[in-house]
Every structure is written in structure tokens, then in C-alpha cells.
């Protein structure tokens, strides 16, 4: 009897692991940035190149740092959700326009609406590398002290907005 049960158990355990593996997203690599200070940068703004922005400017506020590009298709998916956040005045969003063309980015914002408090412009994607970005869109939740608390890889969905990002933002804002 044992002779049949043991292989069956081993098979079931293996199958269980493999089944679990099917559901995992290989892009969701644990970020080394959680609970670390947001990397410093100083970039010119997208819409007003005479001004520049650095994360220290947001000290005292909880904010979202959203990396996007006008050429990025899945950024369009999350765009309406970001617009909602802006209209309801829930949390300020700073955008980083990643490896984009200034005209294309401005045209896209004019057409689709601008959910951002401001946008910085990262032509070469260097700040993206500093933030460990593998592709746009990615969104960071940054607290009042400038510490990264959460990283969303891929587009923000209404589900993870409701379950993760918004509760976290509310909690951080109370602190």
C-alpha cells in the first residue's frame, strides 16, 4: 500500500507547487526599495523646462510617484484611475515621463487629461534605473518622510487601488 501512497503524495506536492507557480507573476520581483528613502534626483519638469523638481519638494506629504510614457500601452489602462484620484483630491501624483518625446507626452496629456501635480522628464531613463524600474508603468507610494512604502509593478488596477494603495495612503496620511 505504502508503495502507491508515497509516489502519489510526492506527485501531489509537486503538482501543488507547480500549480501555485502558474499563478505567480514573474515580473513581481521583490523590490529592495520598500522602507528605504526614495532615491534623490533633480529633473526638469515636462511642461515647464525652466522649473525642476526633486523628491524633497514633497516632504510632509504622502504622494504617488508614477512612471509612465506616451508610448506605453498599459499606462493608458491606468490613466482613468489616476484621473479619478486627482479629481477626488485623494493623493497628489508626481509623474515621471520615461524615455519619451516631450511633444508626444504633452499631446497625450492634453488629449487624455492630466492627473499629475507635475511631471518630470527623464529622456535617458536614468532615474528609472535608480528606482529599479524594469518597465513602465510603475507606481511608488512615498510617505511624508520621503520613504518608499509600496511599489506597484505594471498598471494600477481598481482592485489593488482599493485593496492596497488607498488604505496604505490613508494610513500614511494619518501619521
Amino acid at each position: 500500500m505504502m508503495r502507491f501512497i508515497l509516489p502519489l503524495v510526492i506527485f501531489l506536492v509537486l503538482a501543488g507547487f507547480l500549480y501555485k507557480g502558474l499563478g505567480l507573476n514573474p515580473r513581481e520581483v521583490p523590490s529592495p526599495f520598500i522602507d528605504k528613502p526614495a532615491p534623490i534626483f533633480n529633473l526638469v519638469e515636462l511642461q515647464d523646462p525652466s522649473k525642476s523638481f526633486t523628491p524633497a519638494d514633497m516632504k510632509g506629504k504622502v504622494w504617488l510617484f508614477n512612471l509612465w510614457a506616451s508610448w506605453c500601452v498599459s499606462c493608458r489602462e491606468e490613466h482613468p484611475l489616476l484621473l479619478d484620484l486627482m479629481q477626488q483630491n485623494i493623493v497628489p501624483i508626481v509623474g515621471l515621463d520615461y524615455k519619451d518625446k516631450r511633444e508626444a507626452a504633452e499631446a497625450w496629456l492634453n488629449k487624455a487629461g492630466n492627473p499629475y501635480l507635475l511631471n518630470v522628464f527623464d529622456v535617458e531613463g536614468r532615474i528609472g534605473i535608480d528606482y529599479g524600474v524594469t518597465g513602465v508603468p510603475e507606481t511608488f507610494v512615498i510617505d511624508k518622510q520621503g520613504i518608499i512604502r509600496y511599489k506597484q509593478i505594471g498598471p494600477v488596477t481598481s482592485e489593488n487601488l482599493r485593496e492596497k494603495i488607498l488604505p496604505l495612503v490613508a494610513e500614511l496620511q494619518r501619521k
Binding site: 521583490p30 529592495p32 518597465g135
Partner: protein
């Protein structure tokens, strides 16, 4: 007129030229060092390719970054630390020994030991069975006669 046209057409390929290989720097030593390092690093976009062989845009950017760090005189370890700080241990094809990678490093050996244990246990059990089935003298005699009968047929 027709001949001239054909001649012109034949000359057309001479205007074609291959695009230059973009990324080779003027310094082949540095390039070799970069590739050597990047072969042990994972491209985060196409995760089963190394940073050296990937054509993903991010991989190109990271190779550029590695090259620049090398030009700044950074050591290989400093460059690896730079990447790990941004992308985590996942960029390394050879994972470091840490509390949560113990299973990864020693799991196979644990399985091997378990297998050996099972083998030894089974062999021991089998030997016991064999010892138990030693024939009684009567049974041995009967076996001998049976075998003799078989031979005499």
C-alpha cells in the same frame, strides 16, 4: 537607354550600407570586461536572458550604465552592488547565501541525504527478510529432491 538604366540599377546596391554596430565602444578591453560581468547578471525584462545577451531596451541602458561605471574606475563588486541596490538579488544569476536562500542552496543535498536514508533503510529491511527465510533442513532436503527430479527428467 535601357542599358543605362540596368547599369544604374546594378550600381544601386553600392549605396546600401549596413548600419554600424551601435554599442561597441572604442575600448575593446572595457567591452570585454563589461560582457564578462553582464553574463552573470539577469536581464529584468526577459528574465531568462543575461544582461549581456538581451536586446531589451532596459538591458541596453544597463549595459551603458555598467560601461560608465567601469570608466569611472569602479570595481566589478561595486558595480554588482550598484545593481543589487536597485534591482535586488534577483539580478544575480548566482544567488547569495542568505537566511532565505538556505533551502535553495542546501535543499538538493537534503533531498540526496533523504534518498540515501531511504535506500539504506530498504536494503536493511530486505536483508532481514532474506535472513528470515533460511530453509529448515526438511525443506532443504525436499528442495534438493525436487531439483534432482528436474535434472533426471
Amino acid at each position: 537607354m535601357k542599358k543605362l538604366l540596368i547599369l544604374l540599377l546594378c550600381l544601386l546596391p553600392t549605396f546600401a550600407f549596413a548600419g554600424e554596430a551601435k554599442e561597441l565602444t572604442s575600448d575593446p578591453v572595457l567591452e570585454k570586461r563589461m560582457v564578462g560581468l553582464a553574463e552573470n547578471l539577469r536581464c529584468l525584462v526577459c528574465q531568462n536572458e543575461s544582461l549581456a545577451s538581451s536586446h531589451a531596451e532596459l538591458a541596453e541602458d544597463l549595459r551603458r550604465e555598467v560601461r560608465e561605471l567601469m570608466k569611472q574606475g569602479k570595481s566589478d563588486q561595486e558595480i554588482i552592488d550598484y545593481l543589487v541596490a536597485r534591482y535586488g538579488d534577483f539580478v544575480l544569476y548566482k544567488p547569495p547565501m542568505k537566511s532565505y536562500t538556505v533551502l535553495l542552496w542546501f535543499g538538493p543535498f537534503a533531498l540526496l541525504l533523504m534518498g540515501l536514508g531511504v535506500l539504506v533503510f530498504q536494503l536493511h529491511k530486505r536483508r532481514q527478510i532474506v535472513q528470515e527465510s533460511v530453509l529448515t533442513p526438511e525443506a532443504q532436503k525436499r528442495a534438493a529432491t525436487l531439483l534432482n527430479e528436474e535434472e533426471n527428467k
